[in-house]
Amino acid sequence: MTEIPLAYGLILGGILFALGLAGLLMRRNLLFILISIEIMLNGAGVAFVAAGSRWGQPDGQIMFLFILAAAAAEVSVGLALLLRFYRQHHTLDANRASEMRS
């Protein structure tokens, strides 16, 4: 019985993570930064599921469930911050967020 090699699953997770990292670094729009963070979390999840599936154990899938919960929490708080930022500055430019005073 031929199976998918474990290395391919890990490499797919690494590629997705690197794409998310590149997007995170090169975008200046806060919305795209949040999207890139989602992509990075997904890449980490793919690596977890691949490694868990290699041993036939549910632990990798459970780690992905926790990643899912963390991503949902992060997105809700991040989008609330983004809306607040847009209300104050009327832009989504991350460079405008360099000052702490409201």
Binding site: E3, I4, A73
Partner: protein, 174 residues
């Protein structure tokens, strides 16, 4: 069936990589979100091919169904027009993207080299159904479930607090 799942893995992995690359380079937020949905659905297929049908369903329901819809709501609330597209194109032009891409590519090459050199034995594709996942989730990982519930509660409180308009600030909207 195994052959089908194998080819499904490769096809879905290529689709996921291409659509993710498209998603991070779009200038319009809605286009990026649509490509992100394609990427998440492809990752769902990857999960199914890896033998995780529960996660394939959750990826579609929670990621593509709930989180991306949250993004779409925010994009609709912001109501960004053509000038946002212009400024986005201006930010993306020039050499500002070259540095991050080169650095990420170097890191990715290192990771791939390490993975290939280690030659991890064994293959993936062993089916682990929802029953095993549920039993482990509410058995040894019960404390993790409790902590995740507290994290989500904190996120709800934080989001509702941040989403409220500040009292006494002029022009704060509703």
């Amino acid at each position: 069936m195994t052959m089908f799942l194998q080819s499904a893995f490769y096809v879905a992995a290529v689709i996921a990589i291409i659509s993710t690359a498209m998603a991070i380079t779009r200038t319009v937020a809605v286009h990026a979100l649509l490509y992100l949905i394609v990427s998440l659905l492809a990752i769902g297929v990857v999960f199914y091919a890896m033998g995780a049908p529960l996660l394939a369903a959750l990826e579609v329901i929670i990621y593509a169904g709930a989180i991306v819809v949250l993004f779409l709501f925010v994009v609709m609330m912001l109501n960004l027009g053509g000038e946002a597209r212009q400024s986005e194109r201006q930010w993306l032009s020039g050499k500002s993207w070259a540095g991050p891409i080169i650095l990420s590519a170097i890191l990715l090459a290192e990771v791939i080299y390490l993975i290939v050199r280690a030659q991890p034995a064994g293959g993936i594709g062993a089916m682990v159904g929802p029953r095993e996942v549920g039993l482990a989730l509410y058995g040894p990982y019960l404390i993790g479930v409790e902590l995740a519930s507290m994290l989500l509660l904190g996120a709800v409180v934080g989001a509702s607090h941040l989403g409220r308009s500040a009292p006494g600030r002029t022009g704060a909207g509703t």
